[in-house]
């Protein structure tokens, strides 16, 4: 085992798995395994620990979580970076230092990061892609001997948003649910798997464009049931339409979806969907919807209409 490890990426599930495997392999006692949160403990203290000898085992593992001092954001506590650089250049041979930079975006301009990337064994785990998610689901279902329909797999991926942690947790739930079943269809998925709010509002955007009143009303009430404020999703809805309008303008200038990825800071999957919707929709329709939403906003805020009724009228009159 090396003395320095750096984990980066968004895939917490894989990072945790790897770290746990390393701990198992190292076979250290509880006393030689220390975890620190770099937002609570200073580097000085962590390094003091790194420099002491392991207790009752050959090696000592020190895990540093949440190393915000590596990112461009400002860390809550003051760290002695110089000493950290010194240690990285000359690590203690009996200590394994694991820096778990999950969800932390390393600032590549910083000297410390260049050094870390050069000296550490750096491993990057990115979020799984749709294809990988599909493979995971199908494997698991094969193990359980369950038939899963094509559309159900898609819905499951859609609802877990390619987040491996969520995906595994939902798969576990599914495995219990389908104990004495041998088939899972889309209805089961809809019943059991939670759907993120943005996803719902997103489908609402789609239904608005397609003028599907039935479905819009159902989605709207589903959102209400979780005590969401209509004003919140009217604003998200407005933002979606705003993005649609912009995408439409870019499409006129032959921008491809790939080029827009850098311009819009939204989820790539959402961008893909919005891009498709924008192709189908006329500009006037988008503008009409934006106006209707803004009017709703004004009416609610000036107390002219009840916020729940107003939203329904917005849907009915679309």
């Amino acid at each position: 085992m090396k003395n320095l490890y750096l984990f980066t990426g968004e895939n917490k599930f894989e990072i945790d798995k790897k770290i746990n495997r390393m701990i198992d392999e190292a076979n250290v006692t509880d006393l030689s395994l220390v975890k620190y949160d770099a937002e609570e403990i200073t580097v000085d203290e962590i390094l003091n620990d790194c420099e002491t000898l392991p207790f009752l085992s050959d090696q000592k593992i020190v895990i540093v979580n949440n190393p915000l001092f590596l990112a461009s954001e400002k860390s809550k506590i003051q760290h002695n970076i110089d000493r950290f650089i010194e240690y990285i250049n000359n690590p203690n041979q009996s200590t394994v230092l694991i820096i778990n930079a999950y969800h932390v975006k390393l600032d590549k301009k910083k000297k410390i990061n260049k050094l870390l990337l050069a000296k550490c064994e750096s491993i990057n785990y990115d979020n799984i892609t749709e294809l990988e998610a599909k493979a995971i689901i199908e494997n698991r279902m094969k193990q359980l001997n369950i038939n899963i329909k094509f559309d159900a797999v898609n819905e499951l991926i859609n609802r877990t948003e390619c987040d491996s942690l969520k995906l595994y947790s939902e798969l576990e739930k599914l495995s219990f649910y389908s104990e004495d079943k041998n088939e899972i269809n889309i209805e089961d998925i809809k019943l059991l798997i939670c759907e993120p709010v943005e996803n719902n509002i997103f489908s609402l955007t789609n239904y608005f464009i397609e003028r599907k009143i039935d479905k819009s009303i159902h989605v709207y009430h589903k959102l209400l049931r979780n005590n969401n404020e209509p004003i919140v999703f009217s604003s998200i809805l407005g933002k979606n339409f705003h993005n649609l309008y912009l995408i439409k303008q870019y499409q006129k200038k032959f921008f491809t979806e790939f080029q827009l990825k850098n311009i819009f800071k939204i989820h790539p999957y959402q961008l893909k969907k919005l891009f498709q919707i924008a192709q189908r929709t006329k500009e006037e329709d988008i503008i009409k919807n934006i106006h209707a939403i803004s009017e709703y906003d004004i009416n609610v805020k000036s107390g002219r209409v009840d916020k729940y009724l107003g939203f329904e009228l917005l849907i009915l009159n679309m």
């Binding site: 917490k12 987040d163 219990f176 019943l191 939670c194 005590n227 006129k252 032959f254 009724l309 329904e312």
Partner: protein
């Protein structure tokens, strides 16, 4: 003195304890008495109870759960049942026995290892830190320490962070169950640590069934209609339904009738609302005002009344617009309401609701709300009664219009420039019988790439995009459907067709052919085809198409001109403009 006080205090505590156990307290509200004690009692959440039963039987318990869902859907109840099941003497089992020591102590709320924490009142960091410190210690008597944290969204940010630390590495003897009505207020980091379960709101049918069971056990006299009204009012929450039932029972004398429920909730019955609207449709303002006055004099709040009216019209609107009526969404859904709904036109409805809504807005600012209701009724009558006559006039106009159209159609038949074409149904038959689903999906998903050909689409590209790809056969024949008949027939014009084909083939590098159909005919044929196919006819035969497609022969050249080009031509004259 001090000792005496201390003794008194102890005595008081003992008394409270006794009361809580139900020895002294004689009446327990219905929703507490009938709180589900095992999974099979839980109503309307089969997907959740099923999952848990299997997991518990296998003894595979995750250490953190998050329950979300509207109030009164059984979150805390299920949490308690889980606590009982894991600690029951019979565990691993799928239902708690409710008899053993552990079960009964949890039922009475005195178990040492099951902690019910209301996060609404214990929302600080300190309380959560306390949990964090105590979590380490092993349970005293049971297998698991269960922490049920209710209303978890009320925790402060600091408390959430403290909780997160505990959730990240909980000892193996601890189960956390977090319950909330507002999942969007919970940090994503917490959610990702838990296994999440969404509780659905309970359907009216399920609430009614459960209430009927309670009514039969408790021997309550109640009208069938009243049960439904209560269930509708509860909006998917069992607790709301049962507390309302409790209130109504103590309110009414012998037998509970529907009107009692309306009196308690301050609502107006659907029947009365329907009556008022019926009068308005008939143009009888007098009667309408009388019935409104009658309701007010019986103690209904004018503001609630107008709200009920607004929602009545809203329900009518929904009935008109929706294909399938969901009784959870549309509470006023009797046959009478449906009849009224059929009489009122959609455009009108929107105006009606706006009138009522404005009235409500005005009523809040005045001391004489009653006058505004009456005024609103007059306005409604104007809209409901007179507009109906107008509709008749419109119909007359439409009829004459249709005649004119027919005449012109007959004329056009004589005209040389059009041609009638009967589509040969066998072509469609062939396509459908050789349909290739994969090709269709492929083409459909790439259809929009037609947009990429040019900024300003030519009319032919536009024509292609407007069509819906319905089927693609193995020999690359595409079946397109069009909502507008005229568009469909354009594809039968020779030059248009050739251009369309060349566009498609250069785009997809295939050798496509197009058959276009009006949507109406397509739907008909599709129905026929599916029906025969379902009856196991391998090669379904379709009936011939009787309606001809009218094709213009000498099409005057129409090229697509974008607005801006037209404007430019207007300014500079056609000669100067060079369109690239």
């Amino acid at each position: 003195m001090f000792v005496q006080n201390y003794y008194n205090l102890c005595y008081n505590i003992k008394e409270i304890v006794l009361m809580k156990e139900g020895d002294i307290l004689s009446y327990k509200t219905l929703y507490r008495t009938y709180r589900p004690k095992m999974f099979s009692d839980v109503v309307g959440q089969e997907h959740i109870t099923r999952t848990f039963k299997n997991a518990l039987l296998k003894d595979k318990i995750s250490h953190a759960y998050l329950f979300t869902g509207p109030r009164g859907t059984g979150k805390t109840s299920v949490a308690k049942i889980i606590a009982k099941t894991v600690n029951c003497v019979k565990s691993p089992t799928d239902e708690p026995c409710n008899v053993c020591e552990s079960c009964s102590s949890i039922n009475s709320g005195f178990d040492n290892d099951v902690y019910e924490i209301d996060a609404a009142s214990n929302n600080g960091v300190d309380e959560i830190r306390e949990i964090r410190d105590k979590v380490k210690y092993a349970p005293t008597t049971s297998r698991f320490k269960v922490y049920i944290i209710d209303e978890v969204h009320m925790l402060s940010t600091g408390a959430f962070n403290a909780l997160l630390k505990t959730l990240e590495e909980p000892p193996s003897h601890v189960i956390f169950i977090l319950a909330t009505t507002e999942p969007h207020k919970i940090p994503a980091t917490i959610i990702s640590r838990c296994q999440r379960f969404d509780f659905k709101s309970i359907s009216i049918k399920d609430i009614v069934a459960r209430m009927k069971y309670i009514i039969s056990v408790e021997n309550i006299k109640i009208e069938e209609k009243a049960i439904y009204t209560i269930a509708k009012n509860a909006q998917g929450g069992m607790r709301d339904a049962l507390s309302l039932l409790d209130q109504v029972i103590s309110y009414s004398e012998n037998i509970v009738i529907e009107e009692d429920v309306h009196e308690i909730t301050g609502t107006v019955s659907e029947e009365k609302l329907a009556n008022i609207v019926q009068y308005l449709i008939l143009g009888n303002v007098n009667e309408a005002i009388c019935s409104v006055d009658d309701l007010i004099s019986r103690g209904k709040e004018p503001l609630r009344l107008i709200e009920n009216l607004i929602f009545y019209f809203r329900d009518i609107f929904l009935i008109n617009k929706m294909e399938k009526i969901d009784e959870q969404l549309v509470t006023n859904n009797s046959d009478e309401t449906k009849e009224i709904a059929a009489k009122i036109s959609e455009n009108n409805l929107f105006e009606l609701i706006l009138i009522l809504n404005n009235t409500q807005y005005e009523m809040r600012k005045t001391n004489q709300p009653r006058v505004f209701i009456e005024l609103a009724l007059f306005e409604l009558v104007n809209k409901l009664f007179i507009k109906d006559i107008k509709i008749e006039k419109k119909e007359v106009k439409e009829n004459t219009l249709k005649k004119v159209i027919k005449e012109s159609e007959t004329k056009t038949e004589i005209n040389d420039s059009t041609e009638k074409k009967y589509i040969d149904v066998s072509v469609i038959e062939k396509i459908l019988n050789n349909a290739n689903k994969e090709k269709k999906e492929n083409l459909k998903s790439n259809w929009s790439s037609i947009y990429g050909i040019n900024i300003n689409l030519t009319n032919i590209e536009q024509l292609l995009i407007d069509g819906q790809v319905e089927a693609v056969s193995n020999d690359n024949k595409i079946l397109l459907s069009y909502e507008v008949d005229a568009e469909c027939s354009r594809l039968y014009e020779k030059d248009v067709y050739d251009k369309a084909i060349s566009i498609l083939n250069s785009l997809f590098h295939e050798n496509y052919q197009i058959v276009s159909l009006p949507l109406k005919i397509w739907n008909e044929k599709k129905g026929e085809f599916i029906e025969q196919f379902k009856n196991n006819i391998k090669q379904p035969k379709l009936s011939p198409i009787t309606e001809p497609i009218i094709i213009k022969k000498n099409n005057n050249k129409f090229e697509y001109e974008p607005e801006i080009v037209k404007e430019a031509i207007g300014i500079f004259g056609e000669e100067i403009i060079n369109i690239k």
